[in-house]
């Protein structure tokens, strides 16, 4: 794969809008969010290993700059939707870490009331539309969010994330065609971490880079370096501007790497320890930390303090999740039909 290409591939970008320079406090906030996610995931790992978190648990370590950087250029009321590796997107969208951890523990205080689990986080108040377990299934949904945003004249946009493996689902291509054809305000973000489970990108995908697939639809395409949060922000901002001002979709490919197994159940025999160690040296949090120090925006001590705080917050979330009550058995019958649909014919005792 070639290195991230700074140029937009199809010359359809909106060049008029420029990403505003961040204030020091905002830069520190980005750092804080990435560190928060790293500690959250480490706690989730601990919860899984001690048997308190069950099912599938896909962690985000190494990819933090992607969710934090891209979501940071959105307005609060823009929509976000992603796959099952979703903890970071919820947290970056501002979801309560306690509610997220409680969801992993299956508690009633969880962001999906203990019904969704790791793969199915939802927080619609924060315009986070999930958390989806079927590879590629969220991409038509995200396209529908953008369709409704345009239909309703909201001037909002949607970020729809998928993995590099998901790009090979038919539904993804169908949805991208619709978005290009109908000029929908959506940004498709491929989080290219080079593997889909144990399959390297070279073994799963013809055509390199993946952004080439946008060409068939005359859709704008752009690549970003997912280890550099500033690059993620700049590129996502271009795409978001195009969506917001011209209602045009973009396919983004953000190059990143996951440090841990595909899920907690993955032995990881398909890549070498050396490969992981080498990639870990290019850590998005460390890179940004060095930049903040270099820019004299923060000191080693102040950033360490943020780290300590994030760790304490993750521990507090863990404690909250543990102490939270289990859902009552009767809750299995809740959240199936909306109240409007509870017309008499749907009532179990209806005669």
């Amino acid at each position: 794969m070639p290195a991230a290409d700074p140029a937009v591939k199809n010359a359809k970008t909106n060049t008029s809008s420029r990403l505003p320079e961040l204030q020091p406090a905002q830069k520190i906030e980005l750092f804080r969010q990435m560190v928060q996610i790293r500690h959250f995931e480490e706690k989730a790992k601990q919860g899984f290993l001690s048997g308190k978190i069950k099912g599938f648990c896909h962690l985000y370590n190494g990819q933090e700059a992607v969710a934090v950087g891209s979501i940071s250029v959105l307005n609060e009321d823009d929509a976000v939707i992603t796959a099952y590796r979703d903890h970071a997107h919820a947290l970056a969208r501002g979801s309560d870490a306690n509610a997220c951890m409680a969801e992993l523990f299956g508690k009633i205080t969880g962001c999906s009331r203990g019904k969704g689990g790791s793969m199915h986080f939802f927080d619609v108040k924060k315009h986070f539309y999930g958390g989806h377990g079927i590879v590629g299934g969220q991409i038509p949904l995200g396209t529908g969010l953008a369709y409704a945003q345009k239909y309703l004249g909201t001037n909002r946009v949607t970020l729809a994330y998928m993995g590099d493996g998901a790009i090979n689902q038919g539904a993804v291509h169908e949805a991208m065609n619709l978005a290009a054809l109908w000029k929908l305000p959506i940004i498709y973000i491929i989080e290219n971490n080079e593997y889909s489970m144990g399959t390297s990108i070279a073994r799963s995908s013809a055509g390199d880079p993946l952004t080439k697939r946008a060409g068939a639809f005359d859709m704008a395409a752009i690549q970003a370096n997912g280890m550099d949060i500033d690059d993620v922000r700049a590129k996502t901002f271009e795409a978001v501007s195009l969506a917001r001002t011209e209602s045009q979709p973009t396919l983004m490919e953000i190059k990143t790497y996951r440090y841990l197994g595909h899920s907690m159940s993955d032995p990881g025999t398909y890549r070498s320890k050396d490969e992981i160690e080498t990639r870990r040296k290019n850590d998005p949090i460390e890179i940004y930390k060095a930049r903040l120090l270099e820019q004299k925006i923060a000191t080693e001590e102040s950033l360490n303090a943020i780290d300590e705080e994030a760790l304490a917050q993750a521990q507090a979330a863990y404690d909250f999740a543990e102490a939270s009550p289990e859902p009552e058995l009767e809750t299995v019958y809740e959240d199936i039909w909306t109240p409007e649909d509870q017309i008499p014919e749907f009532q179990p005792n209806h005669r």
Partner: protein, 324 residues
């Protein structure tokens, strides 16, 4: 007789059939280099090479349709779904192509293919990953639907499925992969479409399949201690349905409980109940009872999920209800 896990029994069936017929090949996500998400295909890449053990991209519609086309042209593909829940992505290919092409072509084409993979709930993987979709496929004419509960049947039925000239949906159970039991060596074929009495009894018959057969057998043990004698029939093949074996048992015990993990609406158990009341009405001493999962999506929370599934306590209570 060797003791094998359900997983190893499946692996042996695949291996033996691939040795026997070089038109048999296996295709699916992570089946080759990763040895299978649930290790059913362990070692097969080494043995048969990448021409016959094929890793696919995550493109269920594409590779399922491709395999059906290859079957129409004379290959005998085995397609693995990491879980049957993901087969919903390519439901159209299975239902509209694999199941219809022979009929629509007036018998010119046949589709000797096996679709297989894990299924079932109880692992806390949530609503999208916990389906038991045998009913959805059994509803389609021309599809054979098999759900083995024991290692010997896993092997014998998979071998038969691969030799069948019809499209077969072969639903394994994720919770049973590690289950150990005796498995005959070499040529061991289990006839498709035949149920098996897994435990004899006289007071009541339970008909069940897959994971629910184990629930039924465990419940039968508990009930035996209370002096209640339960006969357990493992359906093994959902379609074609072996009504004769069910009928022989009901005529003997005069009471029937059906246990299935599916959601209740129009499951295979409803079909069995219909046929039993239609043909054996006079042999029944009590209405046919049917235990299924609750009619709700699968929750992640473990306690809730156990509550939704037809667990052993519910089986025991249901038996007592029928006998009351």
């Amino acid at each position: 007789m060797p003791i094998l896990t359900y997983r190893e029994a499946l692996n042996e069936a695949l291996s033996e059939e691939m040795e026997r017929d070089d038109r048999v090949m296996l295709m699916g996500e992570e089946v080759a280099e990763y040895d299978g998400a649930y290790k059913v295909s362990k070692g097969l890449l080494k043995k048969f090479g990448p021409k016959r053990i094929i890793d696919t991209p995550i493109s269920e519609t594409g590779f399922t349709g491709l395999a059906i086309g290859a079957a129409m042209y004379g290959l005998r593909p085995v397609v693995e779904y990491m879980t049957w829940s993901f087969s919903l992505v390519c439901y159209d290919q299975i239902v509209n192509n694999a199941a219809q092409v022979r009929y629509m072509s007036g018998g010119q084409l046949s589709v000797p293919i096996v679709f297989r993979g894990s299924s079932g709930g109880g692992l806390q993987v949530g609503a999208t990953h916990s389906h038991t979709p045998e009913n959805w496929y059994a509803n389609v004419p021309a599809l054979t639907v098999i759900t083995p509960a024991f290692p010997d049947d896993a092997k014998g039925l998979l071998k038969s499925a691969i030799r069948s000239n019809n499209p077969v949906c072969f639903l394994e159970n994720e919770k049973l992969y590690g289950y150990k039991d005796e498995v005959p060596e070499g040529e061991h074929l289990t006839e498709i479409g035949k149920a098996k009495v897994r435990r004899e009894g006289s007071d009541l018959t339970i008909v069940s399949n897959s994971g629910s057969t184990h629930r039924a057998l465990n419940a039968a043990k508990i009930l035996e201690a209370e002096g209640i004698s339960v006969e357990v029939i493992d359906l093994r093949t959902i379609k074609p349905l072996d009504f004769a074996t069910i009928a022989a048992s009901v005529v003997k015990t005069n009471r029937l409980l059906i246990v299935e993990e599916n959601k209740p609406f129009a499951g295979w158990g409803a079909q069995v109940a219909y046929q039993v009341q239609r043909e054996l009405f006079d042999d029944l001493d009590a209405p046919v009872h049917r235990l299924t999962s609750l009619d709700v999506p699968q929750p992640y929370n473990g306690r809730l999920e156990q509550y939704v599934l037809p667990n052993e306590e519910r089986v025991v209570a249901a038996v007592k209800e029928v006998l009351a």
